[in-house]
Structures are given as C-alpha cells and as structure tokens.
C-alpha cells in the first residue's frame, strides 16, 4: 500500500526535523520488514547462527539508516532508500565473508525494492490466506513468506514436521483453487 510508504516517510521527515520519538517509531516499524528481507535472503543452512546473522544485519542496517539519514531525499519514496541500504549491507556481508553472489540474484533483488508494490502484494496474500483454514495459513506464512525450514516451522507452531508438510501442500492446493476459481 502506498499508505505504508507515506506513513514511514512522514516519520522519517519528522525524525530529520529532530523529533526523537518519531525517529524511534520509524526504526521500530522497520524491524519486521527488515527481518523479513534478510530472512528471505540468507540461506537456511544453520538456523541458529542464521537468526544471529539476521539480527546483526538488521541492527547494522538500522545504524546505517540513522547515521546516514541525510542521504534520504524527501522527494523520493522511502522504501527504495531503505531497501537500497539493506541490500548494500547484505552484499557487504557476502563480500566480507568472501562469498560471491551471482549478479542474476542482484537483478531479482532490485525488483523487490518497490516497497509500495511489495506491501500491495502482501495485503493481497493476507486476504487470500484468510480464506483457508488457520493451520494451513500459519504453515504457509511460516514456510513460504518468512522462509522458515520445515523443522523451524514445526517447532514454532508446535506441530509435527509431517503435519507441516501436509498442511503446506493442502494450503497451497486450496489457494490454487481459489485463484483459479476467480477469487477477488
């Protein structure tokens, strides 16, 4: 939703004007999208250190957003600025750890920076998920949106791993039926 970007932008502008409370509210509001952004992009090999990595990146990004807030151009969308910083921090992490990142992925990343569009898509998904049983929706949110592994999702939701797999499968099929059936 464009509303999202406008809201964050308003907080940002108030923060730039010196309003500490607005700046804190902005940083707090950015935690979930930043966690989601990094979670989707870090490989799930070792889940323990992965959560630490995500928190590290989130905090580094927040510090950069704070220290380099003068580089925000008020005439441009806030989300593009935010995710350009998050993306830089992610690439910098890869570079420091000596791993390479194929350029193809970078192109894909760039497509996701339109914050307004991303929020739009998210609200569509939310409405669609509301139409299927709660357990299936919870499993899909955990595995497909947040990017948890089957084991992580099972632990979070307190159900068995096979239950996670079955629910994800049924949930996806139910969603497919609704989309095919002309869901609006």
């Amino acid at each position: 939703m464009a509303h999202d970007d406008n809201h964050l932008r308003a907080l940002m502008l108030a923060g730039l004007a010196g309003d500490g409370a607005a700046h804190a509210a902005l940083l707090r509001a950015l935690l979930p999208p930043l966690r989601g952004f990094f979670r989707r992009r870090l490989s799930a090999k070792s889940s323990g250190s992965r959560d630490d990595d995500i928190e590290d990146l989130v905090q580094e990004t927040m510090i950069a957003i704070h220290q380099r807030r003068a580089t925000y151009d008020p005439d441009r969308p806030f989300g593009a600025w935010l995710f350009a910083i998050a993306r830089y921090k992610l690439i910098d992490r890869y570079r420091r750890s000596g791993r390479t990142m194929p350029l193809d992925d970078l192109g894909e990343l760039a497509d996701e920076f339109d914050f307004a569009q991303a929020s739009d898509a998210r609200s569509d998904v939310d409405r669609l998920l509301d139409t299927i049983p709660d357990k299936q929706a919870a499993v899909l949110r955990a595995t497909r949106i947040e990017g948890l592994s089957t084991a992580e999702a099972a632990e979070r939701l307190g159900i068995g791993e096979s239950d996670v797999k079955v629910s994800a499968h049924r949930g996806l099929r139910a969603l497919a039926d609704r989309v095919k059936g002309g869901w609006r």
Binding site: A17, H66, A84
Partner: protein
C-alpha cells in the same frame, strides 16, 4: 544489545538534519580541498603573469567553460551517487556536450592554421607536465570529497569514486587555468582531459576500498 536498546541509544539526543545537508557537505569538502589546490597553484606553480589581460580574451573563457561545465556535471553525478538509491542520471552523458563542443573548436582552429603548426598546437610548451599538474591539483579536492562521503551511503562504490575523481579533476583543472598559458583547444582537449581522466581512474580504483561503510 537488543534492537530496543539500540533504538533507544540511537534516538536519544537526536539532532535535526538540515534539508540540504548532503549538498552542503559536498560543497564543504570540495571548497576545503579547493583552497589547498588554489594555494598550490599560487605558491607552487604561480599565476600566469598575463592573467588579467588573458581574462579579457575568448581563449581563457573557452577553457573555463570546458572545465567548469565538466566540473558541474561530474559534481551532480557524484551527489546522486552519494545516495543509496541514486543512479547517475544523465549527468555523465551530458559531459559529452562540452567534449564535443571543444573538439569542434579544435577542428576549426586546426583548419585555420597551416599544417606545419599543428604539432605545436597539440603539444604546446607544457604537454609533458600539464596532465600531471591537473592530476596533482585534483588530489586535495578528491580528498575533500572523500571526507564528505563519510556521511553518505553510496552503493556503487567504483562509479561514485570515479565521478568524485572526475569532479576533483575538473575543478582542479579549472584552478589550473589560472596558471596555464596554453591557448589551443586541441591542447586543452587532450592534456586537460587526460589529467581529469586519470583522476577519475584513481577514484574508480580506490572507491570500492575507501567509500565503504
């Protein structure tokens, strides 16, 4: 430290950011470096003795129009690349306009001169030191720009370094005009541009290392 503590530590005692903070920082870094370059021109090279009469002639202003327009374009590109979501825009392509304009003037000058003068017009009296001087005079301004970048968030480090180097080279060349008595357009097009290009190359090479944040 958890995120809540981090937010609290970042936002207590928050200082407002003036609206044009980024432009001011760039200007401040370049002016600070430019003062050093100007002092270097005055003490190391010396102003050209005929500076005042030369400023009444067209040649001096053609040289300045060339270096100043390049400086403005490169500075604009640098300011855009200082932001994380900034592209170069058209500023770099716009730099072709003064280059082509000066090339046209050079062709006209050559056409009007006998062929036997061409080599002298190209090399002037100072071709061996001109590019080096422009490059050296760019260094303080480039250092000033690097200082400015400590508050910025460039994401294309090589490109940002290159435009910063070219901006420093073009401003340095502008100040070098106060010393350099050469008059031919072909001379300026070749040796000035070479010095500015070298400064841009330096920026491109060191950018990824020095502009990281």
């Amino acid at each position: 430290m958890n995120s809540e503590e981090l937010i609290a530590s970042l936002t207590s005692d928050l200082r407002p950011v003036p609206r044009h903070a980024l432009g001011r920082r760039i200007a401040f870094g370049m002016v600070a470096g430019g003062v050093i370059t100007l002092v270097a021109v005055a003490w190391w090279l010396g102003f050209r003795p005929d500076l005042m009469p030369a400023m009444h002639g067209a040649t001096f202003w053609i040289k300045w129009a060339y270096t100043l327009s390049l400086a403005v374009c490169a500075t604009a590109a640098t300011a855009r690349l200082a932001r994380p979501d900034g592209g170069v825009g058209g500023a770099l392509r716009l730099m072709l306009v003064p280059v082509l304009a000066l090339a046209t003037i050079a062709v006209v000058e050559l056409a009007q001169a006998p062929r036997s003068h061409w080599l002298a017009m190209w090399l002037g009296d100072s071709w061996m030191i001109c590019s080096r001087n422009v490059f050296v005079l760019a260094l303080p301004i480039f250092a000033g720009l690097l200082w400015s970048f400590r508050w910025f968030a460039p994401t294309r480090l090589g490109l940002a370094g290159m435009t910063a180097g070219m901006a420093a080279g073009a401003w340095g060349a502008t100040l070098y005009c106060l010393h350099c008595p050469e008059t031919s357009a072909l001379f300026v097009l070749t040796w000035y541009s070479l010095g500015m290009g070298a400064a841009g190359l330096l920026g491109w090479l060191v950018g990824p290392r020095l502009l990281r944040w």
